[in-house]
């Protein structure tokens, strides 16, 4: 056993309002400069929707992440290092600027400088790549809030039999994304220059700007497409988990500025010796449990004997991330089937539950009915399972049942019922109340424990 620590994040999608404040503050802080105009270390996607870059989840096309070879060993889906070396001067498989979006600006100066003419001055759009006039036809967030046709969504394709894209059955939720700072990062393994590295002390995955040679293999390797190429410096860039802030005890910019208060930061301890095995379990649907097994209970006696700074151990004990992931099991990994063991997890969106019942004439407030309703959510469980559990509905169901149980129990408390009985979702009354505090009340210093 080799215990290591990582700062991980959980986002509660049940609270995300899709406002994109995180995207903007991140962009303003890190990437509002030439060469990375198109880059959003943090972006927010409407689901169902194509994502950014579009259809990045289609690994048949983009070949990101890991697969198991015939011997059951992990190998990069895009091919091993030798193939990379051999193809190093050829274009790697990676999204084009059009798949991200061609950044643009406007001729704003016209508004002030236009000479006297026959019509109102205007600022037409102009490409920031070519400098030419352009018609805007794609952006970093083109399909926001179901704008346009979401059917090219690769996840949707997997559950198309369960979903009808009609007004009556419309559903949506938002998925904010940053780099996953994986335990088993395929970007690091893809880099022919060894410029990518995972920091030993906190697990943050970074690009050494001095060593990067701009081969862009990492862009291919990352299945989440969170490696970006700066076309001005010719180097790779990525989300840094705001290490200059985290190092001094400040939360990441995207966390601190999240007005939905849905992000949690905390320390997770894991056994580095078991990472490879966990990433290599044969059945994709076992990856979630396998990764959970890699995480170590901070109260485990082995932790005390590990060579970890005491304040890190203390932080791990108070880690909201650990509680959401491991204790309550309501947070789930994004696309575990990529086998990178991602470290940014998500509480799936619960709502709207009762609505699903409205048609049945049942009292949606009733806990028994609530559970039944989860099967008939506006947001299909199957869709969530394809995102978070390689298609296995069971863990998603467990998480949603626990959220529903908490609401039902707290409603009884709220309305002053004398002896509220929590619905059975595998959590005790005290656990439900603690979970409620963490999800609803958690203050700044309880959300971000670093």
């Amino acid at each position: 056993m080799r215990i290591m620590a990582q700062i991980a994040m959980v986002m509660n999608l049940d609270k995300c309002i899709g406002c994109h404040t995180c995207s903007v503050t991140c962009k303003q802080t890190w990437t509002n400069r030439p060469g990375v105009e198109y880059v959003w270390f943090n972006n927010v996607e409407t689901r169902p929707g194509q994502g950014y870059p579009r259809r990045y989840e289609d690994q048949d096309r983009w070949r990101g992440g890991w697969t198991l070879n015939r011997k059951g060993k992990l190998e990069l889906r895009a091919g091993g290092r030798l193939r990379k070396l051999l193809t190093i001067f050829a274009n790697p498989i990676m999204p084009s600027i059009q798949d991200y979006y061609e950044p643009w600006t406007y001729d704003y100066e016209n508004l002030t400088n236009a000479p006297l003419s026959s019509d109102i001055p205007v600022a037409p759009p102009r490409s920031l790549i070519s400098g030419e006039p352009t018609k805007i036809s794609w952006s970093a967030n083109w399909d926001d809030s179901l704008g346009g046709d979401p059917s090219p969504d690769p996840v949707l394709a997997q559950v198309s039999d369960q979903v009808k894209l009609s007004f009556e059955e419309a559903f949506m939720f938002y998925l904010p994304r940053i780099c996953e700072h994986c335990l088993n990062p395929s970007c690091v393994a893809s880099c022919p220059s060894g410029a990518l590295y995972k920091r030993e002390e906190d697990g943050i995955v970074l690009v050494d700007q001095d060593r990067c040679r701009g081969w862009r293999m990492c862009v291919t390797g990352c299945p989440y497409k969170k490696m970006y190429f700066n076309h001005k410096t010719g180097k790779a860039e990525k989300c840094t988990f705001c290490y200059p802030r985290v190092e001094v005890g400040l939360p990441t910019v995207c966390s601190e500025t999240c007005v939905g208060r849905l992000r949690y930061l905390g320390v997770l301890l894991y056994d580095a010796d078991r990472v490879s095995a966990a990433a290599s379990v044969p059945d994709e649907r076992d990856l979630y449990e396998a990764q959970l097994d890699v995480f170590i209970d901070p109260d485990d006696p082995a932790v005390a004997s590990a060579d970890l700074p005491p304040d890190w151990v203390e932080a791990a004990r108070r880690s909201p991330v650990y509680q959401l992931i491991k204790k309550y099991r309501i947070a789930l990994p994004l696309h575990p089937e990529y086998r990178t063991l991602p470290m940014v997890w998500y509480v799936p969106p619960l709502s709207p539950v009762v609505d699903a019942l409205a048609g049945t004439g049942h009292d949606g407030e009733d806990a028994v009915n609530l559970f039944a309703a989860i099967e008939a959510l506006r947001i299909p469980v199957g869709y969530l399972a394809e995102l978070f559990t390689a298609g296995d509905p069971a863990p998603v169901n467990t998480a949603l049942r626990r959220l529903a149980a908490m609401r039902s129990y707290m409603r009884a408390v709220n309305l002053g019922e004398p002896h509220p009985v929590p619905p059975d979702a595998g959590l005790s009354e005290d656990e439900l109340r603690d979970m409620y505090r963490l999800l609803a009340l958690a203050r700044y210093d309880e959300r971000y424990v670093i």
Binding site: I17, C19, T29, Y108, P115, T240, P352, D355, Y436
Partner: protein, 1164 residues
């Protein structure tokens, strides 16, 4: 081992790193130079607290980062004081728009220098040189028809050139002086909305305009954000809970309010309250952002929300008042609503209609104001005049009796008491009139019933033994207001309406009134939005939810709470120097002066009740405006068809003016708005983008008010064009208003000045501070208006001197004037020393402590505060303001606002509550925190909690969340209404005329019938996710996250019908104008309705239209103002005028359009 692994393994030994044994991962520990880039990027020199200052209710405190004297970015502050250990905190507050603000600082749309249109500048410079006098030069250019047309036609067509501040302010001063001299000061208007979000920036311009006698135009009603139902029902402008109080709600309906988009920083309360078991219901036409959080989503047809609410009211009255009495509800409506009050029935041929409230005078009382004292019936059948009606508010004998104490247990109904009678009630769903019985009794000569009995008849809730046509049950489709009746209207299944109404009322009963309805623009901004709101409010009033933490209405659109109201109002109205200021309702002002009235070609009687007496028949809506002005119900600018300074020249100006009016020699300007004597001549916009944002009927503005070219297809040839001599805008970015302006002044941004921010969404006040000095030649609004005032005073000293101004004042709400009925406006004389305007602008005038600071019927006397400000700010050494506290910097103004307001100065709050207690005779001790005091530096350090004050209706402190009317409910203080209670019934003649005495359903206007509109798609303009009104919609960050320009959302079905694909260029047209945009086709939109999100300006990516060959319009190119006459009622208790409190709303949701796919080749 493969070859590649060998390579990597070698590399592993060449550098200081740890590679995992299977060579998958490379670990490094600290000390890498390669990461220095990001450390440098993060480093900064300082962090300054500020916020964003206009037209957003967020009032979020921000950290502005500065490096090397350059603003780099911003992030939210997280240091709000705690609101309690048992609830979520306010941190962080912000949204993506605010987070993108710093982009403007150095952006290419930033206005860096003063600009003016070259044709105007050339003519001005030539004339000035020739004539040697700026005022004469301005007079010549504006009165010479050729010159006038030359520069007016050039408006909006480019050709701006840089000018100096000196030249710009000289031209502005000359225009003001000439206008005052030639036409009158009330021909000058100022427009700047929403003071709460940057009080000093607003107040300084308003102060200048008020000092010279110009008119400040209202915005809240103009924006159609003012819910007229609020003055009607509550006698209050708008008072709503802070968002932390959503947490207290057990049941939350979001009705026409898309909270995640429009209240972004507050939304977490809603999301989190669900975890406390709050049930959430969303009612909206589209599957909107809020709906994603809802337990239930009801898709309602646009504008029919009132029908759904009426049906829910029907269910509540039936199940909780008739089938079973609910003591919690009954007790509440008896004490806090007008339901037990008696109403006279009037004869209508051989049947009856509801008339007026029975009053003490009807009982034969000759007591003071007996006609303003309403009556209820005791259990013993005796009429009783309870305390608390408006008749007790302003009379000497009413002292100590203006309270809600009921010495008797009133009867809610006369059912079973006397013979029932059939009354006629209007309906507007196409069904004629309703015949329904009410129990009555005779008091003296009067046949009376209770409001409750009328309400039961109106809602169609049958009770034994009453005659008339009643619904047979919930499933009766023909009779209003059953659940089945509403289904074909709203599209909401009847059983869901029943179930939600039932749950709502049950939850209210179980939680002691903790049900809340968040309502917004989607339901307010209709022509009949007030009826929609009254139907909502009825649900809350019937279930005891108003005046509760966690309960009641939460109106969130354009509502703003300038918490330190009194201090701000003093500075903004310059009432420390002269009273009264001219404050004019915006909607009728624009309606008249943009000539939109000419395009109303229907009779004002058209929309009245089937039971109307015909008062409006044969009249034009503009005639009703004149009538309201003549009655003293509502002010208008200009007021008279003569310069009010000339009237002031008479020996006794007031008597002279009255005589002239009587003799018919003096008329009201509103009677002939197109007469050049009656035009507004100078308009100044700051903190505002009128022409790119709020100007409903935008093309009429351009055509008639500005004389610019427009997209109006059939302009009225008889109408005047080019009324304005000068359009001046102060802004930091280019907008539709700046491109049409004659002169543009470069403003400092929110990160470049001192100011104050507050909102009703949270209980704090916090500061703006300059992160950098205003760059280039930009100046703060504060400095700019001082420069204008100085230039003005220099010219005015000679040209104008000291004059006397006759100001006509409407009967003001919260003053004894609210008992005036229709006696005509009050006339006041104001002396104006025009040479001293700049001096007065920069000092706190003596009326502050001499006359005190009136607010909501009490008057603060800030003697100690004025002395304190003198010490804090210094005293003016010489001139007219000698010895007065200086207000010559923005931070001193902040100090004055805080010192002179009750929420930030407990001494004044306590003083006000003592006065109030004298009037109510009830115990109000302990409401104020006498030692509470906020000074400006407190707000600079962190947001500071305000305290309770008579300025507002709710209690608040560190452990009490703000909810409106908690003082009324808990301390027996009356509402500011006729009965002193919340009103279901409005008995004014005009309300009867419009058929709206009781809550009722009125469908959206039929524009085909009224105005011949041929479009069939409902055109709605909800608030945008990517902007705050027009601000940020031009911001590159917001554009990059959206579709990068104007868009219209439409359903898959509607798009298919006209062959439109996602992102196709389309044109939307109707009789008012044309919009060119790109389509967003989405299955979240219901067929038949399109959304063009609000305030998409015409400056970014808007090509020329195919329809006109000219630049496409803004979202308001397709809308137009229609005036609802009932909004102009005045002099009648809560239906009395106050600025931004009551006035016709600029509703714009009843609009229709036709959309077609246009050529995909666009030209700019």
């Amino acid at each position: 081992m493969s070859a590649e692994d060998v390579l990597l393994k070698m590399g592993r030994f060449l550098r200081r790193s740890a590679t995992s044994p299977d060579l998958r991962a490379v670990y490094l520990t600290g000390g890498v130079e390669g990461d220095a880039f990001y450390r440098d990027r993060w480093s900064h020199d300082k962090v300054v607290r500020s916020t964003h200052g206009v037209n957003c209710t967020g009032s979020c405190s921000w950290k502005v980062f500065v490096k090397d004297g350059i603003i780099t970015w911003e992030a939210q502050q997280t240091d709000y004081p705690s609101v309690g250990p048992d609830r979520p905190e306010y941190e962080p507050r912000g949204c993506p728009r605010g987070a993108a603000f710093s982009w403007y600082t150095y952006s290419p749309t930033r206005i860096r220098y003063p600009y003016a249109r070259r044709v105007l500048v050339d003519m001005y410079l030539e004339a000035r040189q020739r004539l040697g006098d700026p005022v004469a030069a301005w007079a010549e250019i504006t009165t010479n028809p050729e010159k006038r047309e030359k520069y007016q036609k050039a408006r909006g067509h480019g050709g701006l050139i840089r000018v100096t501040w000196d030249l710009a302010t000289e031209m502005i001063a000359a225009a003001h002086v000439h206008t005052i001299k030639a036409y009158g000061p009330d021909r000058i208007a100022g427009f700047s909305p929403i003071p709460a979000m940057s009080m000093v920036s607003h107040a300084i311009g308003s102060r200048f305009v008020s000092l010279i006698g110009g008119a400040m135009l209202s915005f809240y009603d103009w924006y159609a954000d003012l819910p007229v139902a609020s003055p009607q029902v509550f006698g209050d402008q708008t008072d709503v809970p802070e968002s932390a109080d959503w947490w207290d709600a057990a049941y939350l309906m979001m009705w026409g309010a898309n909270v995640p988009v429009t209240r972004t920083p507050d939304t977490h309360w809603m999301a989190e309250a669900r975890y406390r078991g709050q049930k959430v219901v969303v009612v909206s036409p589209d599957y909107n952002d809020a709906a994603t959080f809802a337990d239930e989503f009801l898709s309602v047809r646009p504008g029919t929300d009132g029908a759904l609410a009426m049906a829910m009211g029907h269910v509540i009255l039936k199940e909780f008042f008739v089938d079973r009495e609910t003591p919690f509800f009954t007790d509440y409506v008896k004490r806090f609503t007008d339901l037990p009050f008696l109403v006279r029935l009037d004869r209508n041929e051989n049947t009856y209609v509801p008339g007026k409230f029975l009053t003490a005078r009807d009982l034969g009382s000759s007591e003071e104001a007996a006609e303003w004292k309403t009556v209820l019936m005791s259990r013993e059948g005796v009429p009783v005049v309870p305390n608390g009606s408006v008749g007790f508010r302003w009379t000497e004998s009413g002292k100590g009796r203006w309270n809600l104490n009921l010495d008797t247990d009133p009867e809610l109904t006369l059912h079973g008491r006397g013979e029932p009678k059939e009354v006629l009630l209007p309906r507007f769903d196409g069904g004629g009139v309703c015949h329904r019985g009410v129990p009555v009794t005779r008091i003296g000569d009067h046949l009376v019933t209770t409001v409750f009995d009328l309400l039961m008849a109106q809602y169609g809730v049958r009770r034994e033994g009453l005659p008339g046509d009643w619904p047979t049950g919930y499933e009766d489709v023909a009779q209003p207001y059953t659940p089945a009746w509403q289904e074909p209207i709203t599209g909401v299944p009847a059983d869901r309406a029943v179930r939600i109404a039932r749950e709502f009322a049950r939850t209210a009963e179980a939680s002691n009134g903790r049900c809340m309805i968040i309502l917004g623009a989607g339901t307010t901004q209709w022509f009949h939005g007030d009826t929609i709101y009254r139907a909502f409010l009825s649900l809350l009033l019937l279930t005891g939810c108003q005046g509760r933490n966690g309960g009641g209405w939460a109106h969130y659109v354009g509502q703003e709470k300038c918490r330190p109201q009194t201090g701000w109002a003093l500075l903004a109205g310059a009432t420390d120097w002269s009273r009264p200021p001219r404050q004019t309702p915006g909607t009728p002002f624009w309606y008249l002066h943009t000539d939109q009235w000419r395009y109303d070609r229907f009779d004002a009687g058209e929309l009245t009740s089937p039971l109307a007496r015909g008062t409006f028949r044969g009249k034009h809506t503009a005639d009703l405006i004149t009538e309201a002005v003549r009655n003293g119900w509502m002010p208008m600018s200009p007021t008279f068809d003569r310069n009010p300074l000339d009237l002031g020249d008479a020996a006794d100006p007031i008597a002279h003016t009255r005589a002239e009016l009587r003799a018919g020699r003096l008329g009201y300007a509103a009677e002939h708005p197109d007469d050049p004597r009656n035009w507004p001549r100078v308009l100044t916009l700051w903190r505002s983008n009128l022409l790119g944002s709020s100007a409903k009927g935008d093309e009429y503005f351009l055509h008639h008010l500005l004389g610019a070219t427009s997209n109006l297809e059939h302009p009225d040839e008889e109408a005047a064009t080019g009324k304005l001599d000068l359009l001046l805008t102060l802004d930091f970015r280019m907008t539709s208003s700046t491109v049409f302006s004659d002169i543009v002044l470069p403003a400092a941004t929110w990160y470049e000045k001192h100011d104050l921010s507050s909102t009703d969404m949270h209980p704090f006040v916090h500061a703006f501070n300059p992160a950098i000095s205003p760059p280039w030649q930009t100046k703060t609004d504060f400095t700019a208006f001082h420069l204008i005032a100085r230039a003005f005073s220099d010219l005015a000293k000679e040209h104008l001197g000291v004059r006397r101004d006759v100001v006509a004042v409407a009967h003001q709400h919260d003053t004894p004037g609210e008992l005036a009925r229709d006696v005509g406006p009050d006339l006041k004389l104001v002396e104006r020393d025009y040479g001293a305007i700049a001096e007065k602008l920069a000092a706190l005038g003596p009326l502050t402590e001499k006359l005190g600071l009136p607010v909501k019927g009490v008057t603060f006397l800030p003697d100690e505060e004025v002395a304190w400000l003198g010490q804090r700010c210094g005293l003016v050494p010489r001139g007219v303001a000698k010895g007065r506290p200086e207000l010559d910097t923005d931070s001193k103004c902040c100090e004055a606002i805080l010192a002179l307001s009750g929420v930030s100065n407990g001494r004044l709050a306590a003083q006000g509550f003592r006065q109030l207690a004298e009037r109510t005779g009830t115990d109000l001790d302990g409401l104020a925190h006498e030692g509470h005091r906020i000074v400006f530096s407190d707000t600079q350090a962190r947001p500071v909690h305000v305290a309770a004050s008579p300025e507002w209706s709710g209690k608040e402190s560190h452990d009490r969340r703000y909810a409106p009317f908690t003082i009324n409910v808990e301390n027996g203080k009356p509402w500011h209404t006729l009965t002193g209670r919340m009103h279901f019934f409005l008995d004014h003649d005009w309300m009867h005329e419009y058929g709206e005495a009781l809550p009722i359903y009125r469908p959206p206007l039929d524009l085909a019938a009224l105005l011949g509109e041929t479009g069939t798609l409902r055109y709605l303009t909800p608030h945008s996710k990517w902007s705050i009104h027009s601000e940020y919609q031009d911001n590159l960050l917001m554009l990059s996250l959206s579709r990068g320009g104007p868009t219209i959302w439409m359903s898959v079905e509607d798009a298919a019908r006209i062959g439109v694909a996602d992102n196709d260029w389309i044109e939307a047209v109707n009789r008012n104008g044309v919009v060119v945009a790109r389509a967003i086709v989405s299955h979240r939109m219901p067929p038949g309705t399109v959304y063009m999100h609000h305030a998409q300006d015409r400056l970014i990516d808007v090509p020329k239209s195919e329809a006109t060959g000219r630049r496409g319009g803004i979202h308001n190119a397709l809308t137009r103002v229609l005036i609802k006459p009932t909004h102009m009622i005045g002099g009648y208790a809560q239906l009395s005028y106050a600025f931004n409190y009551l006035g016709p709303t600029g509703n714009q949701r009843d609009e229709l359009t036709t959309i077609r796919r246009r050529s995909q080749e666009v030209r700019y």
